[in-house]
């Protein structure tokens, strides 16, 4: 545990951890009952996927809570690893030729570690421009030096997009730890819990209620998300924001509004990433999280919401 983390913050993390465990316990008991009834020999695909997903959820709740308790170090290490895995998944599916090899090396071995080093030092000025400015300008130079070739612009943009989503956006989740809220960083680690809870609970509500009650899809041919699902999701996200307003610097109504904004951006994020998957003809980004697919599949919505949440919070309460 970080010595400089206030005990009050630690206590809050345990409260949230307890609430998440309680929810998962209910879901797990429900899953085991379903399994006994519908899938005693492990043959019912929907039930088995649900149970596998729950196992992944347990692992994620424990890992994230542990990271939050260790403070800045744990959080940055956890999300740096997730970023790396996501970037690997993303760039596996992008167009590239031999000429891009040094640009890819630059992405993995320079842009990615530097971004997290700048986050570690909490230098907003540096981590806000490293990828959108310096990586954006320098990586295509490397590709051009190695002989450009066909589809140059698409290759360059696809690599840049991978960096933006998987490194820039993802790194804004741990960046929340560095926010100086009304004069102190003591409670900013809880903002990560708020972001993840709001977006994930909204997503889960949209998934399990929307697929059941919804009919009209919000983006045909891209995603099975339905209008009714997104309405349910927004409701649950707003409620989660209201319930957990006390871990943020926001007033209750503020927390609710921000929850709605970040949930909706998150929905947009998963639509965009689903569109890329559809374009590349794959179902999942990767295979490393059992029942969920890859890291990008798991984090798509949170990753889109993170920079928006970071800047909203910084604008409203940063000092």
């Amino acid at each position: 545990m970080m010595p400089n983390m206030p005990t009050e913050t630690t206590a809050s993390i345990f409260v949230i951890f307890g609430a998440a465990c309680a929810l998962l316990l209910i879901a797990t008991i429900a899953g085991e009952i379903l399994r006994l009834r519908l899938s005693p020999r492990g043959t019912h695909p929907a039930v088995e996927t649900y149970v596998t997903r729950l196992h992944s959820w347990w692992a994620m709740v424990f890992l994230l809570s542990l990271a939050l308790l260790t403070g800045r170090t744990g959080v940055i290490l956890l999300f740096a690893f997730a970023s790396f895995a996501a970037l690997r998944e993303f760039l596996t599916l992008t167009r590239k030729t031999k000429a891009d090899h040094w640009a890819l090396i630059g992405a993995f071995y320079a842009a990615f570690p530097l971004q997290y080093i700048f986050i570690w030092f909490g230098n907003v000025g540096l981590f806000s421009v490293l990828i959108p400015v310096y990586a954006f300008l320098i990586l295509p130079i490397l590709s051009a030096l190695r002989g450009a070739g066909t589809n140059f612009l698409s290759r360059v943009s696809e690599t840049q997009w991978g960096l933006m989503i998987c490194v820039f956006c993802t790194s804004h989740i741990p960046a929340l730890v560095t926010l100086d809220i009304d004069g102190s960083t003591g409670r900013s680690v809880l903002l990560i819990a708020f972001l993840v809870l709001v977006v994930q609970i909204g997503d889960l509500a949209e998934y399990y209620l929307g697929r059941k009650f919804g009919k009209t899809r919000i983006a045909k041919s891209v995603s099975p998300k339905t209008q009714a699902g997104v309405v349910w999701g927004t409701g649950f996200a707003a409620l989660t924001g209201l319930v957990f307003f006390w871990i943020t610097p926001f007033a209750p109504w503020e927390a609710m509004l921000i929850a709605i904004v970040i949930y909706l951006i998150g929905v947009g994020g998963s639509l965009v990433l689903a569109a890329i998957k559809a374009d590349r003809g794959v179902k999942n980004w990767g295979h490393l999280i059992p029942g969920q697919g890859g890291f990008v599949d798991q984090m798509d919505s949170v990753v889109f919401a993170a920079p928006v949440f970071f800047h909203l919070t910084r604008y409203l309460h940063g000092s």
Binding site: T92, K98, H101, I105, N151, G281, G286
Partner: protein, 213 residues
């Protein structure tokens, strides 16, 4: 002592390969069970063998020996350790004037000792734009010599992007190894017919990515 060092080096190599490429095995046509097999795979990069070796479950890895070029693997001390000792490769000299014994005899001998075999039937790294180069006769001769052993087409995908030929630093990108359904050489089957059939079975495993060139 060298045996232990080779084991440890093998573990480290597998860990490194897993970290860089998170390779995934797709057992599409066969199960990952301990059965004698000849895995024949496409070859584009020096990283092919480590990746294929890494995705094999440890129990299978222990009984699987790659067929590799002696002229490559005996060139330096490090290679002479990794090739023959870590991978326990069956070393074949591609230069006929250096051959002291018939390569096919050597491979068949390894099969008779119970080993499974990894072979790259193109006979060298594919630097062309085609997915596969024409197969050499070796695969046919081995199949004829031991017709009961399963021949498993094994497609290694994406290695060329991880480490294009001529590059030394690997880029971490995902790789997939797809194992197809086993084939056997027909009793009357001619060499060229068989090699085409085997080659087609291997190309059929190549993932189709729409939108990507």
């Amino acid at each position: 002592m060298r045996r232990i060092a080779a084991n440890i080096a093998g573990q480290c190599l597998a860990l490194f390969a897993q970290f860089i490429t998170a390779p995934r095995a797709d057992w599409r046509g066969i199960e990952p069970v301990n059965k004698q097999r000849i895995y024949f795979a496409n070859h584009t990069s020096n990283a092919d063998l480590p990746i294929l070796w890494t995705v094999l479950p440890p129990a299978l890895r222990r009984v699987t020996r790659p067929v590799a070029a002696a002229d490559y693997w005996l060139k330096t001390k490090a290679r002479a350790f990794i090739g023959p000792e870590v991978f326990r490769a069956v070393l074949i000299d591609r230069r006929t004037e250096h051959q002291t014994e018939d390569p096919i005899t050597k491979i068949v001998q390894a099969l008779d000792e119970g080993a499974s075999i990894i072979i790259f039937p193109e006979g060298g790294r594919n630097r062309s734009d085609d997915p596969l180069m024409p197969f050499k006769a070796g695969l046919y001769n081995i199949a004829k010599a031991r017709p009961d052993v399963d021949l498993v087409p094994t497609w290694i995908d994406n290695i060329a992007s991880v480490m294009p030929s001529g590059e030394v630093i690997p880029v971490p990108l995902g790789c997939t190894v797809t194992f197809g359904a086993a084939l056997h050489v027909g009793q009357e089957e001619a060499k060229d017919t068989f090699l085409t059939r085997a080659s087609n079975a291997l190309v059929a495993l190549m993932p189709q990515r729409e939108g990507a060139p």
